[in-house]
């Protein structure tokens, strides 16, 4: 006899742990002004009738997670439900903010509360879980995820969320935001590209010459253990001394603070994943393959380009992906030494105890990291030669 219950553990755990704060903790925080102490408002009070829709959909998630609906249908419905709930929660918060603004004036602020963030996290877990490894439904779920993200973007652009404190912070710094977005991207991409340019040959060297392996990895591992804040700090006096000694350096824009030390530190941190994966990638090439290639009359260069590199490339690209995601996060810290990027808002927000300003720096950083991760995975999937298992 078929059981009526078949528990999908991850989805159930996420749905339940998301439900408790969503309905138990404050959904939004209403403050009389930007910096004042706030009052938590529950989902029911904040969203009114929309709260009922959200509650029903959430219940559906939990029921689906324990029911015996056949897999394909179940995962599709779970994914669609989670994908619908994310923009709905945002819309509910945005409407509450608009109401508060209308009744209490524009000085008052409505921030997203713990209930919102926990449930958003739970929904993301459910969406990602249903996306991974469910062959047949994958295309449906990718469409759901894209649609969900598109709706969120539409809500942001349509102005329905403009009354939220986070969006008010954004509105005040609109031009600065895009400036920092640009420097964040430029810093992260420049350092990963440079680290790749250095790391690929270095990784190949550690593969070819065993004697270089231990010192290279010792150095890179040690670099990795230095706290980022400390490394940025250490570089300031070093570079200041260098520019004092060699004035031409300052003519090309090198200073103790700013872009130069940030790039150096970010490149240093990116080297380990790139070099390590390059080394590992080349090590996966069977020595018999190399011997066969040479024995058939390939030159060293032909062997590298036609045989070794294609076999090693999935592992190498994975290293670049790790470096990129890690660097997007670390770049936020670089704002501390004047390099710009979204860290600027984070440190300003910390200084002013304005949590929504911190989020204005943190949320885009996370979004960029997730996009970078997804893109690199897609690129690896396309480039990975067929025939490699």
């Amino acid at each position: 006899m078929r059981s009526l219950f078949a528990i999908e553990k991850v989805d159930l755990a996420a749905a339940v742990t998301g439900a408790v704060p969503l309905f138990g903790l404050g959904f939004v925080i209403v403050r009389p002004n930007r910096l004042a102490e706030g009052v938590a408002v529950s989902l029911r009070e904040a969203a009114g009738s929309l709260a009922v829709v959200i509650a029903v959909l959430w219940l559906l998630l939990i029921v689906l997670a324990v029911s015996a609906v056949p897999g394909r249908v179940r995962y599709s419905i779970i994914g669609i439900t989670a994908g619908t709930l994310i923009p709905l929660l945002l819309l509910a918060a945005g409407r509450q903010a608009a109401m508060v603004a209308a009744s209490q004036g524009t000085i008052a602020r409505v921030s997203l509360g713990p209930g919102f963030w926990f449930s958003l996290f739970a929904l993301t877990v459910i969406l990602v879980n249903s996306l991974s490894g469910r062959g047949q439904t994958r295309s449906i779920l990718v469409a759901v995820a894209v649609l969900s993200a598109g709706t969120v973007l539409y809500l942001l652009l349509s102005g329905r969320l403009d009354a939220l404190s986070l969006m008010r912070e954004f509105a005040q710094r609109r031009s600065r935001f895009f400036l920092e977005l640009r420097s964040h991207l430029v810093l992260a991409i420049t350092s990963v590209v440079t680290a790749t340019a250095i790391g690929l040959p270095l990784g190949l060297l550690t593969h070819r010459k065993a004697a270089t392996r231990a010192p290279t990895f010792f150095t890179l591992n040690t670099l990795q253990t230095i706290p980022s804040l400390a490394l940025f700090g250490i570089l300031i006096p070093v570079l200041a001394a260098l520019t004092a000694r060699f004035p031409f350096l300052s003519e090309v824009g090198v200073q103790g603070i700013g872009t130069a030390p940030a790039l150096i530190a970010l490149i240093a941190y990116s080297l380990l994943p790139v070099v390590r994966n390059t080394y590992t990638g080349f090590s996966t090439v069977d020595p018999a393959v190399v011997e066969a290639g040479l024995g058939m009359g390939m030159t060293r260069g032909q062997l590298l380009i036609r045989i070794e590199l294609p076999i090693a490339c999935p592992v190498i690209l994975n290293g670049i992906r790790v470096a990129l995601v890690q660097t997007v996060g670390l770049t936020a810290v670089a704002a501390l030494i004047g390099a710009g990027g979204f860290g600027v808002f984070i440190f300003q927000g910390l200084g002013q105890a304005a949590s929504d300003l911190i989020l204005l720096g943190a949320v885009p950083t996370i979004v960029i990291a997730v996009i970078a991760d997804t893109l690199m995975n897609a690129v690896t999937g396309v480039i990975r030669p067929r025939g490699l298992r």
Binding site: D286, P287, A288, A292, G295, M296, G297, M298, Q302, G387
Partner: protein
Amino acid sequence: MIRLDRVTKEYFGKAAVADLTLTVAEGEFAILIGPSGCGKSTTLRMINRLIEVTRGTIAIDGTNVEHYRPEELRRRIGYAIQNVGLFPHMTVAQNIAVVPKLLRWDESRRDRRTDELLDLFSLDPAEYRTKYPHQLSGGEAQRVGVARALAADPAILLMDEPFGALDPITRESLQIEFARIQRELKKTIVFVTHDIDEAIRLANRIVILKEGRLVQAGTPEAILTAPVDRFVMEFIGTDRALKRLSRLSAADFMVDAPSIGQEMSLSEAGSALADHRYLWVVDGLRRPVGWLDGDDLGSEAATAAEAMTRMDYRTEGIAADATLREALSRMIQGGIRGAPVVDEGGELLGEIRLSDILDA
């Protein structure tokens, strides 16, 4: 023709190959053999300059190999190794076409050659062309490996224990298949192995090495009959007489077999038996079904079929392409002094006598 003249390879002052002089004639299948560390692989790899000689010269058709760029040299010499080394990211067809591509053959010529080779190695091109190495069995992978070595139709083929990693059954079938292909292609082959049975089965000439020096070189028959010293004798084993038999085929030692039809009456059979010690009894399709000797004549049966000692040609007949060693083993097992040789359909071709084998 490959000529090694006083070739020495030293590593840190210690000789891996010492003063080796050796000629491999065109079309010859030469097998280098010896215990591990005897320098056989080193010697092989010096021919295509994967290893450079310390002293001495190696010449192919009279030209010193150092005359060529190493890559140029290697593209003219086929090379197959124990671990195959197929390129995992390329299909079987792409793997086979590597050297033709390096030699800039055009695509249609490469495709034609690939299919030709797959056919030669009994791999259906339509099925195997687009497979990836991880989809092949060990035996299939090594077939592709050897096909790849033959792709640009090199006159010389170097093979380093190509069948060494295969299970015994696959190894034997590949050896037989490769022997057939070599009869067709007549390449000059230098082949390294540590398996003396493989050497005896395949080689025209066996070169036995020990600690980098040549101990004995000659045809398998010569080495088996006249080992030069204790080392060679021990290396080829105490059953060298038996091993020699595995070089000889049953067909070569077969003599005419006296036979009668199974419907023949016993009295007629009796007169036929006058000239022979026994007669094979065959059925309508000339397949041996039993034998008849003097003792059987005393019976009261009417026909040969009723009086004969029955046998099954499928299990007791010896195939024409079987080795003498196999024939002998069958006879000892069956406790018989003669055995019928049959073709694939079971038809009686002749017989093999124990006394002839002992004389061989």
